[in-house]
Amino acid sequence: MHMADALISPAVGGVMWAASAGMAAYSIKKIQPDMDKKKIPLMGVLGAFVFTAQMINFSIPGTGSSGHLGGGVLLSALLGPYAGFLTMASILIIQALFFADGGLLALGCNIFNLGFFACFITYPLIYRLIIRKGYSGKKIFFASLASSVVALQLGAFFVVLETLLSGKTELPFGTFAMLMQPIHLAIGVVEGLITSAILAFVWRAQPDLLEKTEPGKPIGSIPIKKIVIFFIAAAMITGGVLSWFASTNPDGLEWSMGKVSGKTEIAAVGGIYDSMSQAQESTAFFPDYGFKDAGESAGETGKKPAAWPAALGETSVSGLVGGAMVLVLTGLTGLVIGFVKRKKKKPERSATGSP
């Protein structure tokens, strides 16, 4: 369920970063007053445990396939919601940085989708509710199963929302949701079963490990109003600052230019433009390669571009030619740097090699 950077826009990524950072700051604030120093290494080592357990294949009976552990509900049950959320965030950061699982921009989305719902929604509202009068094997089973399924359904739904709000794909909302939700229902069930098996074993072996966990205050005591106001403010600020990055039609830059100059395109006439045109004509490798003659093109310069999907052939071709040139130049730059480095190394080696 990890989202990749390529699938989200900076505006959505920024808002989710703000949301996740806000929740992390809130969690740190909540656990700091009664923070036992011993809990820091416990959080670290349990984070490493969940990270590792995520790689173990668990066979799903009757299907011939295998599933994996997510860990959000497990961490909340062992550490409480706040420390659980912070530990989950650490795991996702390491996955993004070292395993390219998710991305740096998508990190906020992933922490929110995989951490927030498990630790702050389903743990206090479902898990704690079922367990409130004490642990039993059955209660652990139902609490783990229900909270894992609901957390994954909410997380998957947010993946759909974030992807669609980012506008990077043409997948219709309904189709995408119909793809994501049933798959994550099955994943949620497997996650719930694995979580309950582990927790039930731990409870039988060392019940105090679960029973002494910070109960995690019910959602009623969490200042929802403040959180909602924070999210709205974060969304407005981040969205406002970054939305010009995200919008494609009209392009944010064109929009800004339009606001400033009253036009979405600034006529490029005279001065440096003419000089560059002349330089370009003299340096052009294939001056007759255009699909339209120069006059026709020049005539179109001032026109508003045709609405999508129409595209100008010569623009696309010159873009491709230019792209190929950029790649060739990039490759050459890399080769030159490598060559210079090797040249520099050689005298060093001969100097150290000589007696």
């Binding site: 740190i28 294949n57 066979s59 650490s90 390219a100 074993f201 990055f245 294939f286």
Partner: protein
């Protein structure tokens, strides 16, 4: 089990690369983190049909690869691991995109442009993030986070999680190998063994956490995250950060391939 061993190998490989010495390795981690974030944010800000205009951004990973002593192969292979998910979503655009682009005299479905754009952005952003880790390492990243005022509690548990991952991965590898040897017909762990196998590992982890804490206390741990420190941002670090960021913004504002293409083809 191969996943577990592969992960350990990947982790150690990146750690090893981060210990190399090069001009890029010596740059301040704060500057590298800022440049990587700027790169990814600006790269993902391009519209979904942008393909050739993304190509100037290939220059950054190419220069970083060339300037530091890192083989491109392992990083590029790891970049490819991420592609299937993005390709899966991108392929749907071929079905749902209704428009076409006219390329020369050929009409090409807009879905191909979206797919190409997604794949390019994915490869470049993943490569940038992996290069950051391959030239910086976790300890320096943690130091950069502290410099950026990320709370010490969070940074400390992030570092501890990272350090103990390799230890626990080895343990999980042993468990998986032992299970596979005793149950050769099972590719994955049977439900009956889920609790005892992973639950015991969890209990051992608690014991390990206690020993880790004791060892930290003996070495003077008082809840603070201490590092040997790193020098302040030097002129070169500022130049790296501001130069690259300016370059990324320039390539965002000016469609460099289109400009070069027009120079070459003579059509403006």
């Amino acid at each position: 089990m191969s996943d577990i061993i592969k992960s350990l190998k990947n982790l150690k490989e990146l750690d090893g690369l981060a210990r190399e010495d090069s001009a890029i390795h010596r740059i301040s981690p704060v500057a590298k983190l800022a440049v990587t974030l700027a790169y990814i944010v600006i790269l993902t800000s391009f519209g979904r049909y942008e393909t050739t205009s993304l190509l100037p951004y290939v220059l950054y990973p190419v220069i970083v690869f060339a300037a530091c002593n890192i083989k491109a192969g392992p990083i590029l292979i790891r970049t490819l691991y991420v592609l299937p998910l993005v390709a899966f979503i991108g392929v749907f655009n071929l079905l749902f995109e209704k428009g076409t682009f006219i390329l020369g005299e050929t009409a090409v479905s807009a879905g191909w442009f979206t797919l190409m754009s997604l794949l390019l952005k994915c490869c470049l952003s993943v490569a940038a993030a992996l290069l950051l880790m391959a030239t910086t390492g976790m300890d320096k990243i943690a130091h950069a986070l502290r410099k950026l005022k990320v709370p010490k509690l969070f940074v400390l548990q992030l570092v501890l999680t990272y350090r103990y991952i390799s230890v626990l991965i080895e343990e999980a590898g042993c468990i998986s190998r032992a299970y596979a040897l005793r149950s050769p017909k099972h590719k994955a762990i049977r439900p009956r063994a889920w609790g005892p196998l992973i639950g015991l590992m969890l209990l051992r982890t608690y014991g390990r956490a206690q020993r880790v804490y004791d060892a930290m206390c003996i070495r003077g741990f008082d809840g603070d995250y201490l590092t040997c420190g790193s020098p302040k941002m030097r002129a070169g670090d500022w130049a790296f950060m501001l130069g690259w960021t300016a370059g990324f913004i320039l390539a965002r504002i000016v469609d460099i391939p289109a400009f070069i293409g027009k120079l070459i083809t003579g059509v403006m």
